[in-house]
Symmetry: C2
Subunit: 322 residues, 2 copies
């Protein structure tokens, strides 16, 4: 196994070799190149390459599929940014803000088909399995996004619904990234399913951790202003836990969330979440899902070296600094 | 071979059996069912079924793929309606107008993946070929749509560019509908390619005919108000022919197109197009592409009965009443 940054640079190479910026019509392809050139950790395709290599035969057979996974992820960002009216993405203008709604839609559509083509660049004997995992995952992601949109207008979201939503929106793609890599590497159905479970649980832990960091993290390492979710009234794991507690605690929380002045609201809500013990419960949930992720990994027939490498990536992902 | 209306009702049945209206989240799937319930001739999937049956083994093996083709077509309509800001579609509110931009985008994305899944419901031995035709076609359609959008801001479009655009936007899907049906029916690569050419040329003839009908057709059978393209300043085959004629004719045409009052503009431009002989040239182009379509059909190894049935559908499509 290689280091994650070595895998990342392999992913960068494949994406660069697609030479999207040289395709015509330019107005369709340059926004795609723009979106993909923003960099990032390339977490999902790195997982695909690692899973492939873990099951044998190296990582190169999974390079195109890994690029397809990254393309799919970026397609969802293009369309999500239109729906969320988001003008920035990874510290620069989103495709939506820079090129407009029409381009974000149409270049996004193109990315989805390009992703499907890339993911299909596997031997014929694996095509059906890989394609099924990919398409099923895509449907999960859309359903999760729809659920997320619907949460904005609802006050009665259960924790179960929230977990379902983040499982579809975040977990399914991490699961599919690992499962597709595993299939290409020659994994059995059973092992491939464990890898999916590993990714799904990792996705849940990651997203709940992200919710926690948004309120309790350290601005210098988190990359976003702390308290943004509270300021925007976002329905996070913390929010839903607090609202489902019931009694005077929930009433107090709702009152605090209704404070007009953002800084005061952030300060009051943050203290309340600590006092209610929700900050702690949130950390416990992250630990519980991380542990489920690692136990799925453990159940695979992989050797110790491969398991160790994958465990380390998982721990690095969840162990993000406060 | 059956009648086209018999094939149409088979397509309706498959679409109904998808039971999209019963899937959750409802907010994602009901707009899809709404879009697909508007009916229409189901031209593209009917061509898929006919092509399959023409090459043997009946039409049933192509039913799912045919539904996938129709799903893809409707996905493009959902997204196009956002880009064109179109509030009506087949005589009722478009998904965009009725459910909003976010739903049109996200339900559209879902339809693209559902279409890919449906088109993949073919035997493993055909999966690669069918999927390649489908994905290549999808890319053509996006490129064509991008070209079409860019035409709005350009005054110097060549006839060649226009033909390329309608080939990508309309021809490629008709070609792929026929080619996918042919592959499922067991056609050779050579026959499948001729079927694609048949559909591509038919698509060009159909689109140019549509441009002609918009100005010179009969309101009672055309289904849209006559002169709409002139009123909206649309870059049609007629428009591009007139602007590329050069000299005083083109200047006169540009002046007429700039008339403020819509009815006067329609009347003046229509007369000018007749006087310039462009109405006639347009009809000749339709005849020429129709003839190319039929000669591609002729070159297949299909028997006379199958050729006759496909020729009749083509003639019915182009022979639409004035």
């Amino acid at each position: 196994m290689m280091t994650t940054s070595e895998y990342t640079s392999e992913v960068e190479k494949v994406i660069k070799d697609l030479a999207l910026g040289r395709r015509t019509p330019e107005a369709l392809y340059q926004p795609i190149e723009y979106a993909l050139s923003a960099g990032g950790k390339r977490l999902r395709p790195v997982l695909t390459l690692m899973a492939c290599q873990a099951f044998g035969g190296g990582y190169t057979p999974a390079l195109k599929a890994a690029a397809g996974i990254e393309m799919f992820h970026n397609f969802t960002l293009l369309h999500d940014d239109v729906m969320d009216n988001s003008s920035t993405r990874r510290g620069r203008a989103s495709v939506y803000a820079r090129f407009g709604t029409d381009t974000a839609i149409l270049s996004g559509d193109t990315m989805l088909t390009l992703a499907t083509q890339l993911v299909s660049e596997v031997p014929d004997t694996q095509l059906r399995r890989v394609l099924d995992v990919f398409n099923t995952m895509a449907i999960e992601v859309y359903e999760g996004q729809q659920l997320d949109l619907s949460f904005e207008h609802r006050a009665d979201i259960t924790l179960e619904e929230y977990i379902k939503m983040i499982g579809q929106k975040t977990g399914a793609l991490l699961g599919a990234s690992l499962k597709i890599g595993a299939i290409i590497g020659g994994a059995s159905d059973r092992d491939a399913d464990y890898m999916y479970e590993f990714g799904m649980m990792l996705g849940l832990a990651f997203q709940i951790q992200d919710d926690w960091l948004d309120t309790f993290g350290d601005a210098s390492t988190f990359g976003k202003p702390i308290g943004g979710d509270i300021a925007n009234g976002k329905k996070t794991y913390l929010y839903i836990m607090a609202m489902n507690r019931g009694g005077s605690d929930s009433q107090l929380f709702a009152t605090a969330m209704a404070l007009e002045q953002p800084e005061l609201r952030i300060k009051t809500v943050t203290r309340l979440l600590e006092k209610m013990g929700i900050a702690e419960e949130c950390r416990k949930a992250v630990a519980a899902y991380s542990s489920k992720a690692l136990s799925a990994l453990k159940r695979t027939t992989l050797g110790d070296e491969a398991k160790d490498a994958l465990r380390k990536v998982a721990e690095k992902l969840i162990g993000r600094k406060k």
